[in-house]
Symmetry: C2
Subunit: 419 residues, 2 copies
Amino acid sequence: MDIKEQVFRIAKDARHAASAVAGLSSADKDEALVEMAGQLIHHTDTLIEENEKDVEAARRKGLSKAMIDRLVLDEKAIRAMARGLEEVAALPDPVGKVTSMWRRPNGLLVGRMRIPLGVIGIIYESRPNVTVDAAALCLKAGNAVILRGGSESINSNLALSGILRGVLRVRGLPENAVQLIPVVDREAVNLLLQLEEYIDLIIPRGGEDLIRTVVSQSRIPVIKHYKGVCHVFVDASADLDMAVGICMNAKVQRPGVCNAMETLLVHRSVAGVFLPAVAEALEKAGVALRGCERTRAVLPGVEEATEKDWSEEYLDLILAVKVVDGIDDAIRHIEQYGSLHTESIVTRDYDNSQRFLREVNSSTVLVNASTRFSDGFQLGLGAEIGISTTKLHAFGPMGLEELTTQKFIIYGGGQVRTS
Amino acid sequence: MDIKEQVFRIAKDARHAASAVAGLSSADKDEALVEMAGQLIHHTDTLIEENEKDVEAARRKGLSKAMIDRLVLDEKAIRAMARGLEEVAALPDPVGKVTSMWRRPNGLLVGRMRIPLGVIGIIYESRPNVTVDAAALCLKAGNAVILRGGSESINSNLALSGILRGVLRVRGLPENAVQLIPVVDREAVNLLLQLEEYIDLIIPRGGEDLIRTVVSQSRIPVIKHYKGVCHVFVDASADLDMAVGICMNAKVQRPGVCNAMETLLVHRSVAGVFLPAVAEALEKAGVALRGCERTRAVLPGVEEATEKDWSEEYLDLILAVKVVDGIDDAIRHIEQYGSLHTESIVTRDYDNSQRFLREVNSSTVLVNASTRFSDGFQLGLGAEIGISTTKLHAFGPMGLEELTTQKFIIYGGGQVRTS
């Protein structure tokens, strides 16, 4: 079978499995997820062995230490995946939920019922845990999933998906609800992205390059975010101690993720007091600042920010800092340079808090809290399959509900239409 | 200015206007909509004059009578558009609505707020009333709209959009919230569909060919339905009088629309009684039947249905009829040949009513009611901008809410993330 036939066959099998998965009871799905967790633990040794092949190959290829770290499956990582499966099992099943229902003057009872999307393709890079997380969430929401991990984790991914599929098979559930594309050739992705007849949604997870490639090639809808250039705006009335705490958390706690702060905006009336305080804390934590002219007037040692810095996602201990004239200036800056991801205002002013929430069009907007809360778990969705900065279908962190859609259901008593 | 520059300029102006429109108060929007209604009536003579240019050109080009009928604007049509504007003004404003809000263990208050999508492109065929309807709905939902009507209605559309824009201008509102592409060249559409940076959503309204062309060329998400192959399934336990009433309504009341019935499925145990009754009524109304073998055993005069008939959207007084073995067979047939649009079961059986609602994956599923109710107004959405049979973002009739998305808004008290 050539690659084309192979990918086509996988997509067709997924479509077929999707019908069956859509009809599974919550108990069927949850029991399978819990058993998958047990089987991962049970096969710890095999998983580590298969993973070592990938790690060995990565070393031979001279991949960076950071990339190899992301690749490694040890006992702790396997236990974490198993726990993840159990947590997904424990979440409420979104499928079949009637979210609202109303009565029409002619007596028709009209409601909206959540149903699965169908077949979801996940295209990701090196982390093998995505194989398990994504499969669990798609399955729980009644979808079939086609997984396409990075070539560098192929042995780990095959071992993981093999275990998940084995559980489905043994329990008499549709095995093809979880499929991994075993071909490492990049051509397989291009082929997959053309099969709009069989696949309902593509979710790419990885760097901006991967996502841009997927978007440019796909005939299937893609939900994605390219990058997170998140802002914190410290208003004139801010509690400055709180502001330092939020800035430290947003920049330093985990600088390599998309909801970390990349640009700090400071109201000019507090710049003189606040900037030295926050700079001291940040610099102690190893953060390099790049400031606008007014920032450098207060902090002369700081490197000059260039135009490019305002739209940069550093993913590192670097922070762009700009003094602004007020909330209008801050909102304008965010509109011009932001990525529609996550922005926070620190303020004690009621009107400004309301204006910021209303007028900033990012997918997550916070008052007096760290940008790091922009995350499905932290916001209480119970899970996260990704974050969307496109406004269609889902905007912001996506949980189980975002892997479903709603159909109209209508109870009648013989009504016909007269106009 | 060449076409490319012109389309680019329109898209850029729309993006700019979208920010302003998103922030308008409900009163600003509603008062403008009501004044637009008044101005349409006020300019009735001009509108009819401009429309006559289009009708004259259409006659010269030898367009069909049906197409010319769709094109004509008379006093009645203008009054209907004005009433439509007033109805949209009276609908609740979806923008800014907080649809839910919950408290996290750390005290964060997390909510979801409806916001406009941004810039919406509507690509449509001959009916000039779409210019007004679509503009009104997009504006009410806080979006900027780019309208691209058929070349045959260009003078009517320019006159209509000119009046709408005039109202915005005079009231000091962003005039570019409503723009019509004045270029009849098809190249303009191709260009528009590439501007993903400026346009958030494309809604094509027209025949399957138009929609397929738009989908194949667009880099922007498209919400659409290709066709409506709607089914009515008459179950063994159906009230057969009710079933005749529903079938007549679904097929005959307005055969040329997407929610009309195209295939009738009849349980074999009632075929002998029901088929003669429904055939008599349908044939009296001028409907030509095309039946499967078992149908023709009961109704020998009926033309034989071919494989092609099961997926045909006739949009005419023609009906495909198939005898099925029961609900499983009916659901299977719909899954194989249906278009995910609208299906209805006529039954007195509780379990079958529930199974049909749950297992049929179309965007609208009814029990004991006509497929003709699959419509935004009929279902109580208050308006309809289109019907989606793709599952992303919206599935089924789309009202004002479907022209918005939701962002997360978060009220904190200084929370930072610890894990």
